[in-house]
Amino acid sequence: MNKLPHILLYIFLYILFSSCEHELENPKWEVDMITPIAYTELNINNILSDSNVIINENEEGLISLIFEEEFITMNLDTLIKIDAIADEKTHTLDSASFADVTISDTATIGEAIMEIPGGTLLLPDGSTSTIPAIQNIANGDTININTTEYFQTMTLYKGMLILTLNNGYPTDISNINLSLINSINQNIIATFNFPLIASGSVVSDSVSIGGQTIDENLLAILNNMDINASNGPVLINYDDAIITNVNISDIGITEATAIFPEQQLTENLKEHSFDMGGAEIKEIGIKSGTVTVNVLSTLPNGKMIYNIPSLKKNGIPFTSNEMIVPEAINTDLTSFTFNFEGYKLDLTGKEGRINGDTVNTIYTEAYTFIDSTGTLETINNTDSFYSFIEFDITPEYAIGYLGQDTFELGPENANITIFNNITNGNIDLKDSELLLRFENYIGVDADLQINDLSVSNNNTSINVNLDQDGNSVIGHTYQINRASLNTNTLPPINPTITEITITADEMLEILPNNINTHAYIYINPNGQTTIDDFLYPEYPVNASLQMEIPLNFIANELTLIDTTYVNINTPEDVEIDQLFITIQNGLPLDANIHLILIDDNEMILDTILGNTIITAATLNNENIVTQNSITNSEIEYNNFSEVNKIVTIASFNTVPNEEFIEIYNDYSVQMTISGNFRRIIGE
């Protein structure tokens, strides 16, 4: 079989199919899309967004704009603020006491007989013998008196040295001469002479040792002592002795190195009154605050206790407990601070005081001590203990009589921003009111007198006229009643409310940008009453000035200007052909809106929507909106990436003309921006 035709045919077919091969690619085409981009629904809350304006609505949904301004700012903190320094005192060491020093020595007759040659043979112990007279039996005998137990050295500005001799010998002794000297410098501290001390009797003598310095080791030198002959035979008992007592008492130290015992230096119990102006406060609840005890002590072992019995928390009086005061190494004070939050301070003085309760007064107790350290310390009469107390108390409340005081309010000039964007046109308002409202949380009666209450714009000014009762607001005295306490509420106060209502159509129709106020408040104008005043500083008199403008008006070419900073960028792969804005107007207002596009250099790029009238919504016979109007407009400018801000100039006319229209809460304007884009598919 000839295979050549088949082979040729297969080659031909291969070439045929290969020639049909085509590179696969994506098709491309341009689509022309229109799509909404951004949508917003502006109700009256959005349109009139202003932090100073409250949007209110009544039961029918009628919108009112409320502009509220604080009318009075009363700072009551200073009225009852306790910020004082008390109990400043310096305690010196001369007021310190020192315990008596008592040292005893015993010299037995046995010891004396043993010193006589053959004395024990002549006068054996237990025998009954006649004691002969022995002259000068003691001549320079020394008795060591060791005071280490009490002090190392002590210089006294006062003190008494008392020597007591108890003659226990069975015979009299006489011509006793005894000197007390410091063992180190051999200075004679005192010398005592006793001509006769009968058997069994005690003699005593004392000498002032003020100005003396006494060492820890004293020597008592018995310069002379004679033993008189006994009156006949007597029982010889070697244990019979002469007992010598040396006692140092009434010690006043100029300087001493000693182990001092714990001892109270001072006690200071006193009432302290705070200056509160004309206020007479009986009780203060402390919201926050501290009492700081500041101490400077040159003593090595100072200690202090500070009590305020009239300051209590949960019924427990305040005590600092022991404050160990370190020895000062410079003039810096050591401070002990106590937090008094939640405490209640009774300002009626010491409990059970003689003349009865008082006001603005606290009772305090201060004690200073030298603490016992158990070691030798050197102190002198220049050492001192200096202290004072700082009160820094912010009251939560105060009860008492707050006194008579006058608060001047203003003169003050506050901006009214609600009309700021209106540049032209007229508005005719209906039922607008100006309301002065005083909510008194203070337990005092007060009088209010208004000197100025007026509004103004750049051209004119207009004063308030009459209040709701026909009184001329300016100059009239309005009484503000005192609040009362109510423990069942928080704050525990029933406030009183005083309102002054003024018709304000004329005042607001000038589109004011300022309101001017000036007034006085007099507290307790009639003096103290039988009811205690009270004050919670956080709850003073809330006084506000409120303009209520029901959106019930006629607008005639009312022109608003507003500036909005914008950031509009378009993706690079999207080509915007046209932008459209669709406005569904649900307000009974015709509007003519110009949007001026401005670039970064404040140059005007274009004005859009300039010739577009946005027609008012359709109204029924009662001027209620029944159907939104729809306005479409093309935004011919499409290079929005250059736009930095848009100035909106909008002029409004109410429809129908010369009839008051009302704005309700369900009225809104819906705005949609849509775009016509071209895009290549398949790229």
Binding site: L13, L24, M33, P36, I37, T40, T582, N632
Partner: protein, 408 residues
């Protein structure tokens, strides 16, 4: 998408299928793209790319037919048959790339033109569907003659590579004047296999298909009845599925200040939050099953000695159907039953197969012509739309098939 198309269209091998039942081996390549309405320029542009001009859009869109059908198939197969006494058995491997779509005119308008020209109008693209898939089919066939009847059967394992389908049962888009709002009402099922791997033979699903047929003589006529490729592929759980039945009104991004918007507002991504997200699920898709009935007989004509009259139908539902809905599979296949008559004109070297049909995806009269050459080694080249070669323009179909076979 581009990758998917490339993969679906990638030719692998081509071997023909024998037409009689000697031992043999064949290689079959079949390429067809056809539409009932859209012409060659649309088909070529979609297939090969290029810029679609406004004139082209206008030409395509302004056709009267509202339902534009597009069918594409490119397949290659190799087949080995063994003949034995009163029967045969065969093995075949095929690589198949299928695309089938029904697109409404409004969908074309929206896709090609956008919606700007259709303000205050509703564009209806209900009953739009697009299905494309690629798979390999490994088939075993068996035929047995019993008396004067031949019973044919086959079973296939399907190795699914990729699948993409959008089934829009209901959909319309209303654009308000000036584009102040758009309203989209839609019921969409969308399925797509794992898009992270577009390898040619990646396995994203497995399936099975059955063939069954009967051929017998009756009153000197040969009757042939068959159902071929009745089966489905279960795609794996890495597939993305999306179903939503919703109405979506878009008025723009709601903002507090109409002048305070920027890029993010203009980007379509902002809409994503409003559109349900896809899920990773397994899903089932049916491959198009072919239903065939034909009657063949002899004529007295010296040249056209035989004739065959028959009808083809296809069954490919969107999803599982019960017995009462079984006819939905025929409707949802987008294929109109194709009625045909064909004969054989034999010459010394060539056998010519003329055929006239009506229906199918073109829903029109189609002229088929094929020629085969050779006895033991045979080559057959044909087209199902020979009339398109005679047209100067407005071609709406293109097909070519090649069969190379050898008898052993």
């Amino acid at each position: 998408m581009r990758n998917l198309i490339i993969i679906l269209f990638f030719p692998i091998c081509a071997l023909s299928q024998t037409v009689d039942y000697n031992h043999g081996i064949s290689w079959n390549t079949n390429f067809i793209i056809e539409s009932n309405n859209l012409d060659k320029s649309f088909l070529e542009t979609m297939l090969y790319g290029g810029y679609i001009t406004a004139e082209m859009k206008e030409k395509w869109i302004n056709k009267n037919n509202n339902n534009n059908l597009i069918n594409f198939e490119f397949s290659n197969s190799i087949n080995r048959t063994y003949k034995f006494k009163k029967g045969h058995i065969g093995f075949s491997v095929a690589d198949r790339n299928l695309l089938n779509a029904k697109i409404t005119n409004d969908f074309l308008r929206l896709t090609l033109e956008g919606n700007n020209n259709y303000q205050d109008k509703k564009l209806d693209f209900s009953n739009t569907n697009i299905r494309a898939e690629r798979f390999q089919q490994y088939k075993i066939t068996y035929a047995k003659e019993i008396k004067n009847m031949q019973i044919k059967s086959g079973i296939s394992f399907l190795n699914g590579n990729h699948h993409l389908s959008y089934i829009i049962r209901r959909g319309d888009l209303y654009t308000a004047p000036f584009g102040s709002s758009v309203n989209l009402d839609y019921n969409i099922n969308a399925f797509m296999t794992d898009t992270s791997n577009f390898s040619l033979f990646t396995n994203n699903g497995n399936g099975i298909a059955f063939d069954i047929g009967l051929n017998f003589n009756f009153q000197n006529k040969n009757i042939d009845l068959s159902i071929t490729d009745l089966g489905f592929i279960m795609w794996n759980t890495s597939s993305n599925t999306f179903f939503t039945d919703s109405s979506f009104n878009f008025q723009g991004i709601e903002i507090d200040n109409i002048f305070d918007f920027n890029d993010s507002i203009l980007e379509a991504n902002n809409l994503i939050d409003d559109i349900p997200q896809s899920k990773n699920n397994s899903f089932k898709s049916y491959i198009p099953a072919i239903l065939h009935l034909s009657v063949s007989g002899q004529t007295q004509n010296n040249y056209l000695k035989t004739y065959t009259i028959g009808v083809f139908a296809r069954w490919q539902p969107y999803s599982d159907v019960n017995l009462l809905e079984i006819e939905n599979g025929i409707i949802e296949s987008n294929y109109t039953p194709l009625y045909y008559i064909q004969s054989v004109f034999k010459t010394k070297y060539l056998n010519i197969f003329p055929k006239i049909s009506y229906g199918g995806y073109t829903q029109d009269i189609n002229f088929h012509l094929a020629a085969s050459y050779g006895k033991t080694h045979q080559i057959t080249l044909g087209s199902n739309h020979i009339e398109q070669f005679l047209k100067k323009e407005n071609h709406n179909a293109l097909s070519l098939y090649l069969i190379l076979s050898t008898k052993i």
